[in-house]
């Protein structure tokens, strides 16, 4: 019907599949995100290290360039496990910064404007809503963590000889798995904080400090009590521990000495607990109507 014909008409056309409707949120969120110059700059900056890593891999596998650069030591350019751990650490930190900006944009706006009843009065559950928003962060953070890391892995595999790929294929698992837990934890924490705080700028700040304040408290606890269990409050540290174990790395490369004093199951437990806690907060806060006790 032409829009100028002012008359109400019922809709009797086709419907999109129910399972795919959460992706509407994702699509609109991406469209809105890419309108922000700051976001685009942040996204581009988070890809910059990848170029350096790719350049390094190229040089490491190209004797001519090494000669041109007058690199004499053959060990100076090696692409092994530790190199991919460094890539992962750099890129997960970039993901963290990106998440601090994007996470609150996704949820806080809906809550501030009271849009949740509009979503939830449709055949659309809270799980769909969380899934739709989670997909935004999942895709975005994947694009700066495991996807470029696997591309670099592929680059190295292509340039290296002597069956490097077969000797290092196992690294694909820790690259994907460790990125997945980090992305999931970051996304859920940022969504939970945004749902709790509701104000975007404040939420960004709270997400930022929620990673540093507990870590500081943990270190204080360690100093006072003479223990190392306070590091359980340091999410980044726990992640690096899981990462190092995943890459079968046993040296103290990833942090201060004694990094491996915390058992691996405890590190997993902390990250999973953070995810569950975030889900509980989301369950409490993402409601069509708030009820006041009394």
């Amino acid at each position: 019907m032409a829009v100028y014909k002012r008359r109400y008409n019922p809709y009797s056309g086709s419907q999109s599949p129910e399972w795919s409707r959460f992706f509407v949120l994702t699509r609109y969120a991406f469209a809105d995100l890419f309108k922000s110059r700051f976001f685009v700059i942040l996204l581009i900056l988070s890809f910059v290290p990848i170029l350096f890593f790719a350049g390094y891999i190229f040089i490491a596998n190209n004797k001519t360039v090494q000669l041109l650069l007058q690199m004499r030591s053959a060990d100076l350019f090696t692409v092994e496990t530790q190199y991919f751990i460094i890539i992962m650490i750099v890129q997960t930190q970039a993901a963290f910064l990106l998440n601090c900006w994007v996470g609150p944009v996704l949820i806080a706006g809906d809550l501030t404007n009271g849009a949740l009843p509009l979503f939830l009065s449709r055949p659309f559950t809270r799980a769909d809503y969380v899934l739709g928003k989670l997909a935004v962060l999942g895709l975005l953070l994947s694009a700066v963590t495991w996807i470029p890391c696997l591309l670099l892995f592929s680059l190295q595999s292509g340039l290296a000889k002597d069956g490097w790929i077969w000797a290092h294929l196992w690294m694909v698992v820790p690259i994907v798995l460790c990125s997945a837990i980090w992305i999931l934890m970051l996304s859920l924490i940022s969504m939970a904080v945004s749902a709790w705080v509701k104000l975007r700028i404040v939420a960004t700040g709270v997400i930022f400090i929620s990673f540093f304040i507990p870590a500081g408290i943990g270190e204080m606890f360690n100093s006072i009590m003479g223990t190392y269990w306070g590091r359980l409050l340091n999410f980044s540290y726990m992640f690096r521990l899981i990462l190092a174990k995943g890459f079968r790395e046993r040296s103290g490369l990833l942090g201060p000495s004694g990094w491996n004093e915390i058992p691996l199951p405890a590190a997993w437990g902390v990250l999973i607990f953070a995810c569950l806690l975030s889900l509980v907060i989301l369950n409490m806060r993402l409601r069509a109507r708030e009820s006041v006790r009394g």
Partner: protein, 326 residues
């Protein structure tokens, strides 16, 4: 006010009452808000009335499945609000009472977004969003961010998002809040048009009696979380048409007995005042004819109107009815 014709309902709607409440109890934060509501509302346009805090919005939220019933059940078109909530929501268009929008989105994009979430494919959603926006009278403002709209425009934008996906049930919570009289009039006209243009069921909550009177066929009056009254306005209007108040001079017993002979019921008061309830078969001109025959002067004649205000005030005054109502 114009009388509404009997609504046209499809087979599916004919089989199920629009709203069916069975001992519905809802608690929020451990505090009972709705207390054992029982009632069946069969009309296509239902008004929800009550003073502030009566439980109108809580009932709407319960029907939408936002609040689980503590006890009892609520059904809309035969679908349980708790167990069939997803199926029920696929039929519903909801216009909430409070501000509910995405401030940075343009109006038409916001409505398209909501239509897509309701299940419309992107192209159809875009088309319907434009139609809905033009229909509610915001065509010129559709590309402006919703956050820049006036209060009245936001209400219209909320109505647009509620109708864009073509719902079977339209739930409007205080739709005329914050609107000036012309805008209110326009919105009420729109609601009536939507009602008449399709087989849509309407549930309108308001504390403004006029809004309900102008748009609804049946009214549910709540007070303190209980049903104070369920009233079919169509029947009420029909009954009012046959209820006359006369002020006469010279009326004697023969006048009233002749009217009673025609099938009317008469009550005589002092100063020549007579109340007459006429059966459907009797027309007013027959009353004039009898008066002329008997030499009675009719100085004044009123169709008594038991207005919604009377019904509402009666409901507010009543207490402790034996069927669990107030």
């Amino acid at each position: 006010m114009e009388l509404h014709s009997e609504p046209i309902r499809n087979d599916w709607q004919m089989m199920n009452p629009t709203i069916e409440l069975k001992e519905l109890e809802v608690q929020l934060g451990g505090r009972p808000i709705l207390r054992g509501l029982t009632g069946v509302l069969k009309s296509r346009a239902i008004g929800l009335l009550g003073p502030n805090g009566a439980g109108k919005s809580t009932l709407i939220n319960t029907l939408l499945g936002f609040h689980p019933p503590f006890k009892g059940s609520a059904r809309v078109l035969g679908l349980d609000s708790h167990t069939d909530s997803k199926a029920l929501r696929s039929l519903v268009g909801y216009m909430p009472e409070n501000d509910a929008f995405i401030s940075k989105m343009s109006g038409v994009r916001f409505v398209r977004y909501m239509a897509e979430i309701s299940g419309l494919p992107p192209n159809q959603a875009m088309e319907r969003a434009h139609e809905a926006f033009v229909y509610v009278g915001l065509g010129e403002a559709r590309y402006r961010p919703v956050g820049t709209y006036s209060l009245g425009m936001k209400q219209l934008a909320k109505l647009a998002q509620a109708i864009a996906h073509g719902p079977k049930v339209l739930i409007l919570d205080e739709p005329t809040n914050g609107m000036d009289p012309p805008a209110r009039k326009r919105l009420i006209e729109l609601i009536c048009e939507i009602r008449e243009a399709s087989d849509i069921c309407l549930l309108l909550s308001s504390h403004l009696l006029r809004d309900v009177e102008e748009t609804c066929d049946e009214v549910l009056i709540l007070r303190n979380g209980q049903i104070a009254s369920i009233c079919n306005l169509v029947e009420e209007r029909r009954a009012n048409r046959k209820f006359l108040e006369l002020e006469t001079i010279g009326a004697e017993a023969t006048f009233t007995s002749t009217l009673e002979g025609l099938g009317c019921e008469c009550a005589v008061f002092t100063n020549g005042r007579i109340k007459v309830v006429m059966p459907d078969s009797v027309e007013i001109r027959e009353v004039f004819k009898v008066a002329a025959d008997k030499g009675v002067q009719i100085r004044r004649m009123n169709h008594r109107r038991d207005s919604l205000e009377d019904i509402f005030l009666n409901a507010m005054e009543q207490t402790g009815a034996p069927d669990g109502r107030i």
